[in-house]
Amino acid sequence: MPKTAKVVNRREFLKSSSGVALFIGVSGILPQLISCKDVKAMRNQLKQHQLTAWVHLNEDGEITIYNPAAEMGQGSMTSLPLLFAEEMDADWSKVKVEFSPQVAEIYGGKGWAPDSKLMFTVGSRTTNSYYHTMRKAGAQARYVMLNSAAKHWGVPISELTTTASTVFHKKTKKEIRYGALVPFLVLTEELPDFTFEQLKHPKDFRLVGTDIPRTEIPSKVNGKAQFAIDIRLPDMVYGVLERGKRHGARPTLLNEAEILAQDGVLKTIPYAYAIGIVANTLEQALAAKRLLKIDWSASDASGFNSQEVYEAYDKIAAQQETGKVVVEKGDIGNAMRKASKTFTSDFKNDYIYHAQLEPLNAVIQVAEDLESAAVWVGSQQGFDTKLGVPDILGISPEKVTVHLHYLGGGFGRRSMNDFVEECAVLAKEMAPRPVKLIWTREDDVTHGAFRPISLQRLNVYLDAKGQLDGFSHMVVGDGGNLVASGVHNDYYAIPNQFAEWREISHGVRLKHWRSVGHGPNKFAIECMLDEVAMDQGMDPVALRRTLMANSPRALATLEKVVELSDWNGSIAQDRAKGMAFVEHGSLGTGVCEISVDTATGKIKVHHFWIALDAGVIVQPDNVKAQMEGGIIMGMSSVLNERITIKNGEVQQSNFHNYPLLRMEDVPDSIETALITSSEIPEGVGETATPMVAGAIANAFLKLTGKKLRHLPFTPERVLEVLNG
C-alpha cells in the first residue's frame, strides 16, 4: 500500500498511466486516485494493476481479491471474495485471496456507532455486514471492465455483457478476457454507486450458493497454513508471563536474581498482574517461568467459591427490586394476576472456557527508535484495529502495521487484546529485537476470560383458556449482555413478556464465548416451553407451532426439522428426541436423539438434525460445517465443561481437568436442511451451539420425566437428578 496518498484528477492519472492505483472506499462514490511520481517504485509496490481497493488484476487474468475479515475456520477467506467475484463476473478459477490491509477506513464493516467503521470478526456478522459492500465493490470492478471494453471497441456500454472474466459484444461478436483488457483500462470520474436493487438477483447467482471448496483448506492439510504462533523472525527472542490463578492479584517477585541468572534469560518485566520473562529460546523462558517464586496479593476474587455462590444468586433473585429491564412487552403483571396456572423454574450454568486450540500468542517487533512497530497476530480484531499497540508504545496508529494470520480458533477469545498488549510491552523493552509471546495452555486456562456463571428464574403464566399469556425471564449474573443476550422471544407470539438482568460481580475475567448469553438463556426458555407442553399434555411441536403462528420463517424451520428428524416416527424404547429453537441472526430449530446410561449418568447423543433459515446461503456445505461444529462444541460445553473457582483461584489448568468432547462421543450423524431464501444472509456461526442444552434436556425430560436444570450435565449431576 502506498504510504502517502494524494488525490489527483483523472487527466493527471491517465497521463501517468499504470503508475497510479485506483482505490474505492467502501461507501465512496468518487474513486480516489493515488498518485506516485516514481512510477517504478509504485509498480514495485503494487506489482499488479490495482483496480480498486478490493482487487488486483494482472495481464494473465489472475484476480486477487482482498478479504477484510479474520479467518478462524468459518470460511471468510472464501465467502466474502465469492460475493465480490459473483458481481464482478470473475472466473473463480483465476481468483486468489489475500487478507486486506488493516485499514478500517477502507476495509471496515459497519461499526456499532452510526457511520462508524470497524474491522472485526465477531457476533457472526461477517457475511451479513459485508454482503452489500463486497457485492457493490465487485459490481464496480465489473463496471470498470465494461467501461474500458466499451471505449476500446467504441461501442455503447449498454450492449456489453460479461461472464467468467470475459466481456462480450454480441453485435460484433467481439469478446475480450479481463486480463487482456488491462492495457486498455480507463477510469471514469465517478463509479456508479450500485444500490441493492441494481445488483444481481439471487436467482441469477452463478457462484454464490454452489459448493466451492474453501480457498485456504489445501494449506491446512500440508502444515503450510501460517498461524501467528508459527512466525519466526531473525534475532527473535521469546516471552512468557506468569499470571497467577487468582484474577486481579498483584505479584511480588521474590527471586529475581535467581531468575536472571538462568541460562538464556535476558530480562524480567513486571506487570500489574504478572511477571514477564524474556529469554533467547522458548525452552529457556519456560524453564525460568517454572522457577519463579511470587507472592500474590489478595484481589476482588479472593474468597470467591463458584460452587457455593448460587445461594447468593437465589437471594438476589428473591429481592423485590427489579433489575435492568431488557424486554418489556404487554403487561406481565396483569398476566401474572389473571393467570390460571403459573410455572416457575430456575436454571443455572457454571463458568466455561474458550479452549481455542491455538494458545494465545503474538509476535511484535518495535523499531529501535520506538516510533513504529509491526505485529503478527491471529485476532478477531476489535474496537481498535491496531489492537491496543499504539497506546502501549505512545505512537499513532499509522505507525503500527498489523499482519493478520489464520486464527487457531477464536470463539470470542481473540476479540480481546490482552495478549497483544502484553507482547507489546515486552517488545518495547527488547526493541529492536522481535519478541514472540506464547501463553502455555495452563496460562490460557487459568488466566482465561470465561462465559459467566448465571442463574435464570423463569415464570410462565397461562390464561383462563390455557394459552401461554405471559413469559417472565430474570437473569442474575455478571457482565451485562454477556449473560443477558438471547432473552428475547421475538418469534414466539406471547402477548406479555418481561426480561431483566440483576447484577453480581466476583472479580473474575469474563468474555463473549460462542453465542454468548444465548447458550444459558435459550436453554432456559426452550426447557420452560417443554415443561409447559408436558403439563398441558401437548406435543412440544404443537406448542411451538402455535407460538410461531405469526413467524412464518421460524415456523418453516420447525416444520422442516420435524420432517427431517422423523419426529413422529417410532423410536427405540431407551431413546427420546428433544427440540430447541434458536434465533441468532439466522433462525434454526434443532432436534436431538439421546439415550442415558442410568448406571453411570452418561448421556449419549445419537443424532442431531437442524433446519436453518439463514437467508441467502453463500456456501451451503460450509454452512453445514458450521452447524456440525456448533453442535459438537455445544455438546462439549453442555456435557463436559466447567471452570470452578475456589477461594478466587481457577481450579482447572489443562485438558486433563478441562475435558473437551472427543471423537468417541460424537453423534452418528448431524444433518442440516437449509431453507431456500433470497433474503439478506444472516450469521450461522452461533445458531447451532445454543440449541444443544435445550434439545438434550427436553429429550431427557421425555425419556425420564426428570428435569436437567444446571449446566453442564455431567454424569454426577445426571445421576443426582435421576435419583432425586
Partner: protein, 156 residues
C-alpha cells in the same frame, strides 16, 4: 548446550540445543517445521502428533537427546511429496478443516491408522483418533475423510 543430529523427513538436521528440550520446540522453533502444533504440552490434545519410525507419537513428550540414533522422524511436512497422501486428498475432498490448527495432528494420526489397518471400522477409527482434540468440531468430517481414504474408490 550440545550438538544433536536428527533424521527428520529423510534429511539430517544438525543443531545446538540443551538436553531435555522437547522435540516439539526443536521442530517448531529451532528448525522451523511449524506444521506440528503446540496445544497442551501434556499429551492431551494430539496437535503435535508426528511419526517416529512410522509410529504416531506426541512430540511434546519427547526429549531431543533420545532421537539421535538414526530414528526416522516424520512430520506433516514430510508425510508426502506434494500433499498427495490419500489422507490429505480425502481431507480436502470432504473439506474437513475449519480453523485448521489441530489438523496436522489429525492427519498424522489418521495416516498411521490406515497404515496399520487399511479398512478400519468406524469404532476403530473413533478409538484410534480419540487422543486428538478438535475444538471446531470437525470430528464427523474427519471420520468421513478416513473412510474415504480407506475405501477402494479412487480419489478425485
Amino acid at each position: 548446550m550440545a550438538t544433536y543430529s536428527l533424521n527428520i523427513n529423510n534429511e539430517q538436521h544438525t543443531f545446538e540445543a540443551s538436553e531435555g528440550t522437547s522435540l516439539l520446540w526443536i521442530l517448531r522453533e529451532h528448525l522451523g517445521l511449524t506444521g506440528t502444533k503446540y496445544g497442551c504440552g501434556i499429551a492431551q490434545c494430539g496437535a503435535c502428533t508426528i511419526h517416529v519410525d512410522g509410529t504416531p507419537v506426541k512430540a511434546c513428550m519427547l526429549q531431543v537427546q533420545n532421537f539421535g540414533n538414526g530414528q526416522k522422524i516424520t512430520t506433516i511436512e514430510g508425510l508426502s511429496e506434494n500433499a498427495d497422501h490419500p489422507v490429505q486428498k480425502a481431507w480436502i475432498e470432504v473439506q474437513a478443516p475449519q480453523c485448521g490448527y489441530c489438523q496436522s495432528g489429525q492427519i498424522m494420526q489418521a495416516a498411521a491408522l490406515l497404515k496399520e489397518d487399511s479398512q478400519p471400522s468406524r469404532e476403530k477409527i473413533k478409538s484410534y483418533m480419540n487422543g486428538v482434540l478438535c475444538r471446531c468440531g470437525t470430528y464427523l468430517r474427519i471420520i468421513d475423510a478416513i473412510e474415504l481414504a480407506s475405501s477402494k474408490k479412487p480419489l478425485t
